[in-house]
């Protein structure tokens, strides 16, 4: 049977309405069909066109008790070690004040420094591991050993080869070294070199940037876009240009540091609403409109809502339809940071806007990065032409920061053309679909095994909860022994009791790699006792069927 989906101009056209449930939501508006179709009992009248399933299961109470016990023991030993260091019974490896500064305000007494010295140092070998190959689905690691309990490291010279990579943000697998794929990038490198040596407003705007911006605007379905050299700087340098004193920023609890920094630099008033909680956001909006600015009671000049597409520590997807309806009701602006979701969710990889079947005109400022799904570096801001023209003149990044270098821009162009299908193949679409399949398979198997996984069923970021500080180190080390590289996260990036291991599923992972990782996780989960979930299904339902048949005999 011929493939009913034809890729044309980067958008998927469907001639048969019945097939392919995933794309139905986006196609209604394009073909002008207004007939309501029921799917899974959800009619066209509600905001969500498909099921929105998120898990945030709480572990049993004894886990929290043990976690606090572990931290308590660690803290007591931390005090003991600090005492020994202060009285000279132990060599001081940490930074301390000089003798002449003993009467000054102490520098290293706060909890963060205490935590770093005494708890982080013990498991420091699991972070900042140097790799020496492209971070594709597998990579090579430089072996490091420590002689003095993680205070100093030395390289043995050996390279651990083909470690399965479950930590890199390589969602569509564009971090590759295949010569054919990088042909255009090599040509541009030879034509332009690597450096720009200027900012966008001086002499740093190349024809490559113009081409890239047009392509990004076409990809997202908006009027115009602007690209910047660094993803973090896109947020922190452009939010101050958009809002200022007298404006109100409503920011999600778990927003990324770049958004928080940008919000603080702008000088606007910041109010925080609970993570993905629409009632909390609505209450804040109503209070803002009723009471206005704090002392003068004037109306706010602007109210802007800062959210992310996928939150990288939780794996949850933003409730975009509800937030857009709130924004329209209360006349606020919406800034959507799609760092992890562009290319990773949506039927054709166009992010959460497509995932929910909404139009990109609903979001005022679309921001994203090219680091995660496109194998490059940099960020973009897209939206109406007026907005982007304003940013071209008023953004700090445009005035002072060096623009994106041409080979990186060409890598983004070729990756985006691949995803849109403009290079003549369906490879991009296949990558997006493979990512979706890998994500669903990985999450389903982890749920069945009995681990506690946070987040939405469709998000490629999979946090696996570890809870106890001792298990963080044990988990990462044992996974490395099995030749799998994982990223574990503890306190300050997560709440103190909820440390986790974060997996990033990639389209480049094959089924065998995922199965290797899953069997290693199964074994390790039993050994470290990580399977806390109380809702796990049976992991081998087919075995049940077999025994029933045997009994019937």
């Amino acid at each position: 049977m011929a493939n009913p989906s034809a890729v044309c101009n980067g958008h998927l056209h469907h001639h048969h309405q019945k097939q392919n449930n995933l794309l139905k939501s986006g196609i209604y508006k394009k073909n002008g069909i207004t007939k309501g179709i029921k799917k899974n009992g959800i009619s066209n009248g509600t905001l969500y066109k498909k099921k929105f399933v998120e898990h945030f299961e709480q572990a049993p109470m004894y886990v929290a008790v043990f976690t606090f016990l572990g931290f308590g023991v660690g803290t007591i030993f931390g005090y003991l070690r600090d005492f020994m260091r202060a009285w000279g019974l132990e060599k001081r490896n940490v930074a301390t004040e000089r003798e002449q500064q003993k009467d000054f305000v102490p520098l290293y007494q706060d909890f963060e420094n205490f935590y770093t010295r005494n708890l982080y140092m013990r498991i420091r070998d699991n972070w900042n591991r140097p790799i020496c190959s492209v971070p594709g689905p597998q990579f090579d690691l430089m072996e490091r050993v420590t002689d003095d309990y993680n205070w100093t490291f030395r390289f043995t010279g050996r390279i651990i080869k083909n470690v399965i990579n479950m930590g890199s943000y390589n969602y569509l697998g564009f971090a590759e070294t295949d010569v054919n794929a990088l042909k255009t990038v090599t040509i541009e490198l030879q034509k332009y070199g690597t450096g720009i040596c200027s900012t966008r407003q001086e002499m740093g705007t190349l024809d490559k940037h113009v081409e890239l911006e047009k392509l990004v605007a076409k990809f997202l379905g908006v009027e115009d876009a602007m690209v910047f050299g660094m993803g973090f700087a896109t947020n922190s340098m452009n939010i101050p240009a958009l809002v200022g004193k007298g404006c109100l920023i409503l920011s999600d609890e778990l927003n990324h540091t770049s958004l928080v920094l940008g919000a603080r630099l702008s000088g606007a008033t910041i109010r925080i609403f609970k993570h993905n909680n629409i009632q909390s956001l609505e209450k804040l909006l109503r209070d803002a409109i009723i009471y206005g600015q704090p002392r003068s009671r004037r109306a706010w000049r602007k109210i802007i809502i800062l959210v992310e597409g996928i939150y990288s520590m939780e794996g949850s997807i933003v409730r975009l339809p509800e937030i857009v309806s709130l924004k329209k009701k209360y006349k606020a602006y919406l800034y959507l940071d799609e760092a992890h979701s562009i290319g990773a969710v949506g039927a054709t990889g166009r992010g959460v806007v497509e995932y929910f079947g909404m139009s990109p005109d609903d979001v005022d400022v679309l921001m994203g990065t090219f680091t995660k799904s496109f194998g490059a570096a940099g960020g973009y801001i897209a939206g109406k032409k007026d907005l982007v023209d304003f940013l071209r003149t008023h953004s700090h990044s445009a005035v002072y920061a060096t623009s994106m270098c041409p080979p990186v821009a060409e890598q983004i162009i070729r990756a985006m053309k691949c995803v849109m299908g403009l290079d003549g193949t369906t490879q991009g679409l296949q990558r997006v679909r493979q990512l979706g399949k890998n994500t669903r398979y990985f999450r389903r198997r982890l749920h069945e095994m009995g681990f506690i996984i946070y987040g939405n069923d469709d998000s490629p970021v999979v946090p696996l909860l570890l809870y106890m500080p001792g298990k963080i180190g044990a988990f990462a080390r044992r996974m490395l022994e099995k030749n799998i590289g994982v990223v574990v996260v503890g306190f300050p990036a997560t709440p103190i009791t909820e440390s986790r291991a974060r997996f990033c599923v990639s389209a480049a992972h094959t089924r065998e790699m995922l199965d290797t990782v899953l069997s290693a996780l199964d074994e390790l989960g039993d050994f470290l006792h990580l399977k806390y979930s109380r809702y796990s299904k049976s992991s081998h339902p087919e075995l049940y069927e077999e025994t029933r048949l045997e009994l019937e005999d």
């Binding site: 043990f66 016990l69 572990g70 023991v73 030993f77 013990r122 500080p469 001792g470 470290l528």
Partner: protein
């Protein structure tokens, strides 16, 4: 085989104890200190239990016996 699986189970329990109390992360002398402290506390608790629990139980037993036992003796003497 049973001894081997029992030994494996005990080793696994020991590993769990190490992970939960963060002694997996400690340097050897810290572990020695921690285990010495724990074992000392445990031995003291057990010793206290060994000395005092039988005395407490027999006192409680006598108390309950006094509640019901006295009546019993009275009835016996009346009948006699």
């Amino acid at each position: 085989m049973d001894i081997k699986s029992m030994k494996n189970y005990l080793y696994w329990l020991y590993c769990q104890f190490e992970l939960i109390t963060c002694s997996y992360l400690m340097e050897p002398w810290e572990k020695l200190l921690f285990y010495t402290f724990n074992i000392t506390m445990l031995v003291m608790v057990l010793y206290t239990a060994y000395i005092f629990v039988p005395v407490h139980i027999s006192t409680a037993f006598q108390f309950f016996l006094h509640l019901f036992g006295n009546q019993h003796e009275n009835t016996v003497s009346v009948v006699k």
